[in-house]
Symmetry: C2
Subunit: 349 residues, 2 copies
């Protein structure tokens, strides 16, 4: 058997004896160990303090033995260094007090050498890699330009992305300048994580699903293509997850990535038809299902495994970050089941 970690084999579509899994936002409030750290430091401070980021990144690996680790950080981490303050208010999520409102504001976004600005992220990655078992690769990540732009323009989270859409449609040239600068920053941020020892990277376009297919073709595809091409290294998979884009996953798959994330609204069998045979798929249990008792949860987990065919080229995950109120015991049963039983899907069922 290969010495390559299961997770990396699956990302490259190589046969694996069972399905590897990790969980988006696996370091999170649902874990008592995490809440103990969080009680002493705020979220943003945790992101910027390598010892704290290392500690919470490792917690779910120690607790559940997941097949990949993802660095504890936040999509918005490059923005303050580029000139846009970010505050995390209790219960409100991120707030940017001085967002982009005009074309001129785009030029307030300063190109900044991420390597110096975010040395704390590199240091955390190095520390985490030093502690992880060799079989557990560390994933670095960044937000896609559209998702970052939406925070810069809305000034925080949004439901309808009205201001962002107004800006893109009314000022397309300025928006392209904005997206180009964000793309440069994202590439640098991913490179520094790879240089620090990450063995895979994931690009999160968390809010892309608010776009129609033509807007995604204009504001998603070209930028993920450029990012994927720029960070490609031998043996290092690139994962693109554009949540809510199941109706045009074929467009998302133009990014040239090795793996595509899939949310729970699209069965993996249909995702496979849209993505084609050459990329791996990551997903796609509804995190809401993890609130269900095991008798109800187990058939949903098995359905995901069923829809992944014989399991080759499948990394089990959720379709979005795990919810705060998820019982730890449900996570443990999920992990044990996928790790202990998914071999039975090999060779087809």
């Amino acid at each position: 058997m290969s010495q390559t970690p299961l997770f990396l084999d699956a990302c490259f579509g190589r046969p694996t004896p069972r399905t590897p899994l990790w969980l988006m936002r696996q370091a999170g409030r649902y874990m008592p160990e995490y809440r103990a750290v969080r009680a002493k430091a705020d979220f943003w401070e945790m992101c910027h303090t390598p010892d704290l980021a290392t500690e919470v990144t490792l917690q779910p690996i120690r607790a559940f033995g997941l097949d990949a680790s993802i660095i504890f950080s936040d999509l918005l981490i490059p923005l303050p260094h580029m000139g846009f303050e970010v505050k995390f208010l209790p219960k409100e999520g991120p707030v940017l007090p001085d967002p982009i409102k005009t074309v001129a504001d785009v030029d307030r976004l300063r190109p900044t050498p991420m390597r110096e600005a975010l040395e704390c992220v590199a240091q955390a990655a190095r520390q985490i890699v030093a502690e992880l078992p060799q079989s557990t690769p560390l994933i670095g990540f960044a937000g896609a330009p559209f998702t970052l732009a939406s925070y810069l323009i809305e000034g925080g989270s949004s439901k309808q992305f009205m201001k962002t859409k107004a800006f893109l449609h009314q000022h397309p040239d300025a928006a392209r300048r904005l997206f180009d600068r964000l793309t440069d920053a994202v590439i640098e941020l991913l490179q520094l994580q790879l240089d620090a020892g990450c063995r895979a990277v994931q690009v999160f376009d968390s809010w892309a699903g608010c776009l129609d297919p033509e807007d995604y073709a204009a504001w998603g595809v070209p930028y993920t293509q450029r990012i994927v091409a720029a960070v490609r290294r031998p043996g290092v998979p690139v994962i693109v997850f554009a949540k809510g884009t199941g109706t045009y996953l074929d467009l998302v798959a133009q990014a040239g990535a090795d793996v595509y994330g899939v949310d729970w609204t699209l069965p993996l069998s249909k995702a496979r038809a849209l993505v084609g045979p050459s990329a791996a798929l990551q997903g796609n249990l509804d995190p809401g299902r993890l609130l269900a008792p095991w008798e109800a949860l187990r058939p949903a987990v098995d359905r995901v495994l069923d829809q992944a065919g014989d399991g080759t080229g499948h990394i089990f995950n959720l379709g979005h970050g795990i919810y705060e109120h998820t019982p730890v015991d449900h996570v443990r049963r999920l992990v044990d089941h996928v790790q202990g039983e998914s071999h039975r899907w090999r060779g087809g069922r």
Copy 2:
């Protein structure tokens, strides 16, 4: 040519000389006439005062000559009469101060004769119908049980519907009891609007898109089926709009409705393939596109017309309610363009 209104012909898939259109939330804040009424009464009061509901319902018909009218009301209007107070707080949207938290709370939802409780809705409908031209049918509407249940359980709007999913998965029997009661109320509410002169009804499952296909099959399909069957009358189309369900629109189309709403993430040509040939489609311009200048908006409108084939069985609409900051002039150009030019798509392009 038939004396039947264009909108009704299109709902039943009969050929029309051009594409009819109306706009979800067409009576709304983007109109100065609406804001003038709203300055003197709050939203909830407007929903319950027939003269005010009549006035704002008619405003967009007078201003733009749309091909259908929809009664000004709110999805939550039956809930206070069933025992759950609803408040509309400024900038927060609806809040239910005492939501469903336990299985026992389900029985606080009282079956109530909607006909008496909501005579104000019937009266508004009668007044509106008396004022509308014969060629402009009035659409009545109600929320689907899942969407209503989500407000009852979350206590208001939500992004992730975590409490709702926890309730459905942990207490499926109680949830079915809840959904059955809501279904009865929805049917009564739609019947009373039809009796008052509405010539079509639409069921809004606004938040169904947070469900995976299996949950939609359990918590969407059986209830929309029951509603559609119960309110069916000759010559009166039933429209089902389950926003965000483009990846499983084939499931939505099991409702047996005459028309399915489609949001902007799924091109109408793909929606047609999922729904089959026998139902009409309603949609599907991104309301965000209405913020664009006409040079950018027009190609997007034409793309919707292109994707509707020769236009038979298509009602032009947005993929969600119109945004508050939409320029009135953009709406006017959209309406003039669809009404003035869509005949050119007839016979194929």
